[in-house]
């Protein structure tokens, strides 16, 4: 399997704070990879430097053999990396389906002037994007909420909508930032199945941040543990579970 994403000593500093410190890891195509660590460990910041929200201070980020560190977010999305947000960032006043259509818009081919004139090509394209969005909503089990305002959805539904919106960009790599946060055990169970299913169906590589240990351990094939910006362990779930450094980091004791 070819390498999908590779971080080499990626580092970012905010003033004096080193939020991510020389982090290196590699995702093969089709991996289900977990990123865990206590609050403030730098997990979300890792996502932010991969998706171009921030430019890494040093180190390299390689996606499908191409260096992408510092590339603007919208270009990264066009390259095939999509993400969800820990603090849900839906387009609140838009409807559920419109949120997903925005995700699909990067594949548009028709021009703006035609849209202002509402020409047949633009109408067809919009209909096509809506139809594709509807298919994705079925996958995340939100089809019957398609015309609701996205802000009116429950927490768990909003998280699933974020996944559908990310999938609409037709990514090769999907980054999920705490997708199970705020969900009840049953919703988590369903999410677990769903993530696997979409990975297989769309041949995705998935990088996922999660606090719920049981959830990560049962879903991910490999896990990397961050603490205070630095990698403290990595490996398969079983090795991580028993690693004294990881236990210490989570319980707040010196290793």
């Amino acid at each position: 399997m070819s390498v999908c994403l590779k971080l080499t000593e990626a580092t970012i500093k905010f003033g004096g704070l080193v939020a991510v410190n020389k982090v290196s890891f590699e995702l093969k195509q089709g991996d289900l990879f977990g990123l865990i660590g206590p609050n403030g460990a730098g997990k979300t910041t890792c996502f932010n430097i991969i998706t171009g929200v921030y430019k890494p201070t040093s180190g390299e980020i390689e996606f499908n053999g191409k260096l992408i560190g510092g590339t603007p977010s919208n270009k990264i999305a066009n390259l095939g990396i999509a993400r969800t947000f820990q603090n849900i960032r839906l387009f609140k006043s838009l409807t559920v389906i419109e949120n997903v259509v925005v995700g699909g818009f990067l594949r548009h081919k028709t021009g703006l002037f035609g849209a202002m004139a509402y020409l047949p090509a633009q109408i067809r394209e919009t209909e096509k994007l809506r139809a594709e969005a509807m298919e994705l909503l079925k996958i995340v089990d939100l089809a019957d909420m398609a015309s609701a305002r996205s802000a009116d959805l429950s927490y768990g539904m909003q998280r699933r909508l974020e996944i559908a919106r990310a999938l609409a960009t037709q990514p090769k790599l999907l980054l999920l930032d705490e997708p199970a946060a705020g969900m009840n055990p049953q919703e988590k169970e369903e999410l677990n199945v769903m993530v696997r299913r979409i990975r297989d169906q769309f041949q995705l590589t998935v990088l996922l941040i999660e606090h719920d240990m049981r959830f990560v351990m049962s879903l991910c094939e490999r896990i990397l543990v961050l603490d205070a910006g630095t990698e403290i362990a990595s490996g398969p779930p079983d090795a991580i579970r028993n690693d004294p450094k990881v236990i210490a980091a989570y319980l707040g004791q010196p290793a």
């Binding site: 998706t51 171009g52 929200v53 603007p72 977010s73 919208n74 990264i76 999305a77 066009n78 999509a82 993400r83 947000f85 960032r89 839906l90 387009f91 609140k92 006043s93 838009l94 419109e98 259509v101 925005v102 995700g103 699909g104 818009f105 990067l106 548009h108 028709t110 703006l112 849209a115 202002m116 004139a117 509402y118 047949p120 633009q122 109408i123 394209e125 919009t126 994007l129 019957d144 909420m145 015309s147 609701a148 305002r149 009116d152 919106r165 990310a166 609409a168 960009t169």
Partner: protein, 394 residues
């Protein structure tokens, strides 16, 4: 084929509507004609600003500057080239309108650039400053009349064209929002970080909104210049920008329907008030008390009553009736007091009424009259439906 038939039909309808307005206006006095023209221009201004402020979420307060740039461009090219060009008036006017739009959109690009870095209040201040700078620069250019102004010859009274522009502006915005293209403008308004993570080019979207919005304002300016036969910096002061912003906010930021109706309403309301008779100050005080009662009552109902729509409307009407009765009864009584008996000139109250309407509306409905809604038959059906679960159910 069916599409093009329908499209030709709507275009013909738009022309017919404008021709109708022209025919109606031709029979009116100069004063009324002027009102019809200005109302049409304000519709264009409000709807085009709504594209920037409401739809794309970039709070711009300098729209009068683009209006002014269009007007002066039209005046200037008319002064230089009209005599030599020997074009039919309609053709000249369309050329002038396009030139005004083009020059204004260059300015729109320049103002759009700070919007890439500035947000919210900061952008508002910069655009406000930009508007004033343009006005003051023009005021100090003797070549285009300076503070005195520039006369624009010839005068054209193409009322149909004014309304055609307004309809075009509404149609462009409406069309945009019906396609996936329009959604990216809304997405930028809702969340820039999420938009770019979804591949939306936030920079390009914002600049496009500024370009389009200012182009329409520039075209409106060109029409104004030829209608008035005169332009001066005094016609484009900060209050013009404020009034346009007010129209957008009041109509409901993002709603094209709201911007259109608010533009017409806010334009005619103060004009109508010119004919108000004089009355004692006491009546004014009583009206004020009535308004306060109404606001408090309405807010109480909005916060505490969640029953059926009919019952809610009945409660609103009851409060309104109480407020009106109190104002009517209290008025003559308090006017007996010597200090409250002094007469007030009704016509001078125009701006006060304007301000009070605004305050009351912002208290009762901060999201604007239409909020994010657009007029459509489906929307109307939904609003008139008698059950009222406020949450969206499906």
């Amino acid at each position: 084929m069916k599409f093009w038939l329908g499209r030709t039909g709507s275009i013909l309808l738009a022309f017919a509507l404008c021709a109708g307005i022209q025919l109606l206006a031709d029979q009116q006095s100069d004063f009324v004609q002027r009102l019809i023209v200005l109302a049409g221009l304000y519709v264009t201004l409000a709807v085009s600003l709504n594209l920037i402020n409401g739809i794309t979420g970039q709070f711009s307060m300098g729209h009068a500057a683009f209006y002014q740039i269009g007007a002066y461009t039209a005046g200037f090219i008319a002064m230089k080239f009209y005599a030599g060009a020997k074009l039919p008036p309609e053709l000249w006017m369309i050329l002038s309108l396009l030139t005004g739009a083009a020059v204004a959109s260059v300015a729109g690009l320049i103002v759009g650039l700070p919007s890439l870095r500035l947000k919210g209040d900061y952008l508002a201040i910069v655009t406000l400053g930009f508007g004033e700078i343009i006005r003051i620069i023009v005021q100090n250019q003797p070549a285009i009349g300076g503070a005195y102004g520039l006369s624009v010859a010839p005068r054209f009274e193409m009322i149909w064209l004014v309304w055609l522009l307004a309809i075009l502006c509404i149609a462009v915005c409406r069309n945009l929002l019906k396609t996936a293209h329009g959604l990216q403008f809304l997405a930028v308004r809702e969340d820039e970080v999420a938009s770019s993570a979804m591949g939306v080019n936030v920079t390009r979207t914002k600049v496009t909104a500024f370009l389009l919005g200012s182009a329409f304002a520039g075209a409106a300016g060109a029409l104004l210049a030829h209608f008035e036969g005169f332009v001066s910096p005094k016609m484009f002061t900060m209050d013009v920008s404020f009034i346009i912003v007010t129209m957008v906010v009041l109509g409901g930021t993002g709603s094209i329907t709201g911007a259109t109706l608010a533009a017409i309403g806010l334009f005619f309301l103060p004009e109508k008030m010119r004919d108000l008779p004089n009355f004692p100050l006491g009546n004014l005080v009583a009206t004020g008390i009535g308004i306060v009662i109404m606001v408090i009552g309405f807010r109480h109902i909005a916060a505490n009553f969640h029953g059926k729509m009919v019952e809610r409307v009945l409660r609103y009407l009851a409060i309104l009736a109480i407020a009106v009765v109190i104002a009517l009864v209290l008025g003559p009584i308090v006017s007996k007091l010597p200090t409250l008996g002094v007469p007030v000139e009704g016509a001078k109250l125009r701006m006060v009424v304007f301000a009070v309407t605004l305050i009351v509306l912002m208290l009762l409905r901060p999201q604007g009259i239409f909020a994010h809604h657009e007029f459509s038959w489906a929307w109307l059906r939904k609003v008139l439906r008698i059950d009222t679960d406020k949450k969206v159910t499906a």
